[in-house]
Amino acid sequence: MKTTRRNLLKFVGGTAAGALLTPAPWRLITDTALWSENWPGIPRPARGEIRARFTHCTLCPAGCAVRARCVNQQPVSLSGVKPHPISQGALCPWGIAGHHLPYHPARVRQGPVKEALAAVSRAVAERGAGERVAVLDLRPGRTVSWTYRRAMAAIDNGLYLAPPQPAYAVDLAAAQTVISFGAPLFDGWGTPGNVFSARPTFKLIQIEPVESRTAALADTWLPIRPGSETAIAAALAGEMTLEDAARTAGVDEASIGAVKEAAESGPAVVVAADPASPLMRLNAKFRALGHTVVARREAPVPEAWKKAAAATGVSATPDGAIRALLIDESLAGGYVPWREIAPKLAAHAVVVVFTSTGEGYARHASYALPAPVFPETAEDIGPAIDTTPAVFRIAAPLVAPVVPVVNPGEVLAQIAGLAPGDALRERADAIHKAGRGTLLSYPDGKTTPVKQVSADDFWKTLNQGGCWIGDAGKKEAPGKLEFAAAEPSPDELPLAVVLAEARREGLESPLMAKLDRESNLRMAPGRVALSPADARSNGIENGGRCVLETAGGRLSAVARIDPGIPPGVVEVAGGPQVADLCGAKSRARVVRA
């Protein structure tokens, strides 16, 4: 047989035909597909021992119980804890993605720690007569808040600043009607599991200008004119005629009458977006105090702590009085606009912020130091607005800090010269010593009276998955409720500002940010929404650049034209930058950029 070109081609043809009758090509197709699943850069799940660990979420004051599925001690997924009587096994989307936060690319990863602490020490030593050292605690009610208060009591002219803390708790389960003045009841107001478990038992009347997610899920939504909440409240209190209120609010008289009737017909509660809003006074009118609005209860603290400094509002501080200000922004809480803080600072004041994000006070501070984030540090969470019994729950760390962090509690204790010690353990011992309430263990769902548990076991259970719940006791009416003064709003600007949602300060899982913002479930920062009429009158196009002007300044933004927004309103995504610009109540102008 000669080797010809034809024979060679036939040989190759025979090889190809033969190969098809073997497993080789078919197997290689499968293998190549599998190979493409294992390319470098494709994330690979961790392998190793799988364990469940328990902690509490610190991302908001709800403090939901968390079950973490861990592979080799590394949390890979978070879920709720079913037997928990308050969080009821629920966890919000932020909580579910909470274990992403230590690795957030935008996290504050380093800071001039030595330099900052030296500057604070210098400021403390050199301050003049009447000049104060202050700590601003954005999440009061924690054990570390007591450390701050003790530290400020130990320092001459120390000042403990905190946003107003409601002295009441709302018992949703006892309410038949809930009248909400813009409170985001289904969107971060209280403890998600608690709110949704009580939902079938109450009728929700949502009163706000824009159809928020809560308004969309309410039994009744009253689309009032912005700023007319006071008129509605006055009508409900019988201090204004329904006719006048209806004219002011732009709704019909019968709707307000129906709200009044519902509130008077059974146990009702009034809630507002701002817990310190004067609108909360309506609860006295509807005899809610002591029934659906009860005294806020706190877990016992060691006797020695009770000499701590009391909380002061920023506005009550004299102008130019603060020489050194330390801000704990490690947990999201009540952001105090910088324009309220700035006048209180002395010349050459040192401002140190403990934070994980560059978005908040880090923009204004002399030094921004990296703070631990959830779930890196042991922390406790005070009771939420809808938690009626006293509770003590510890957010036990699930991972070691990913970056070198500074613990603000330790820094303050050191500056004030407090005796070193574990404040959480001291408080747990005080609770155990008081001998009241029960201890709930999450792994087995068992509830045990505190009296039957040793102090060591009590502490161990709190750290390994459990919480202390105080005795239900008799419902008590809250003490004297203090409310913020109504903020006057300038009239010269045409649009009322409505915050799109209570956007959380601090870090948000990049996964959640992508889901929320790219899908338009939540308004992204730097965006405003206008009615078609207002957009047309200002020459603004959908998706076009615009400038939001308020009495506090200007913000460049992208406009969205939304027929759901009533004329005369501009909806703005919340956040520290917007809070600095707008404050609680504001009017604005939106012009084409």
Partner: protein, 193 residues
């Protein structure tokens, strides 16, 4: 003409030989296990059952291959004079170093497999999926496919999978076949979370 047929047939023969005989040999790479462990000796002399070492934790999760602590419970010192025992004591027990066992049955990353569901609820015996591993006097060399990255046991021993005995492989098809035979549910989300 005849020459052409011979050329075609030759090519075909070369491909068939290569595909059926050479391909399975070159497809897999072989690695030895770190210790020549005998399941048979442990079963017969120590009276150990599968679940004594391959146990479930208190919370119901499966512990998989036992950690060195489990072995050290008995093998604090050499139990015999074999080379395998000496290797195990000198290289792992004494320096307290975990042997890097190569798992024959490790499933792909996108599969969620629960031993608890199959053993405790389904009452399956270990042999039904893992074969008579418990009766083997030594550990087979670990063979893996460097293209897919998976063990040969996942695909099954024969490359063509023709005549594969029941539970001879651990591919998705094998799981589905078994579930189908048992009249069990076999939707995607059962295993791919």
């Amino acid at each position: 003409m005849i020459g052409g047929k011979i050329a075609f047939a030759s090519g075909m023969l070369v491909a068939l030989a290569g595909g059926w005989l050479a391909f399975p040999r070159i497809l897999y790479q072989t690695r030895p296990e770190p210790v020549d462990f005998s399941h048979k000796i442990h079963a017969e002399k120590a009276g150990a059952k599968c679940e004594d070492c391959h146990s479930f934790r208190d919370d119901g999760t499966y512990a998989g291959i036992p950690a060195l602590d489990k072995c050290s419970g008995c093998h604090t010192v050499a139990m015999g004079t074999t080379a395998a025992e000496k290797n195990f004591i000198d290289n792992y027990v004494t320096p307290n170093r975990e042997p890097a066992w190569l798992s024959y049955a490790r499933q792909p990353e996108n599969v969620y497999f629960s031993h608890a569901a199959h053993v405790k609820l389904g009452h399956l015996k270990c042999e039904q999926c893992h074969g008579n591993e418990g009766g083997a006097t030594g550990l087979r060399p670990y063979q893996w496919d460097p293209i897919s990255g998976y063990s040969r046991d996942i695909w099954g021993r024969p490359v063509d999978r023709i005549g594969l005995r029941t539970a001879g492989g651990m591919k998705m098809d094998d799981c589905v076949d078994c579930h189908r035979r048992q009249g069990l549910e076999y939707s995607c989300l059962g295993c791919h979370k």
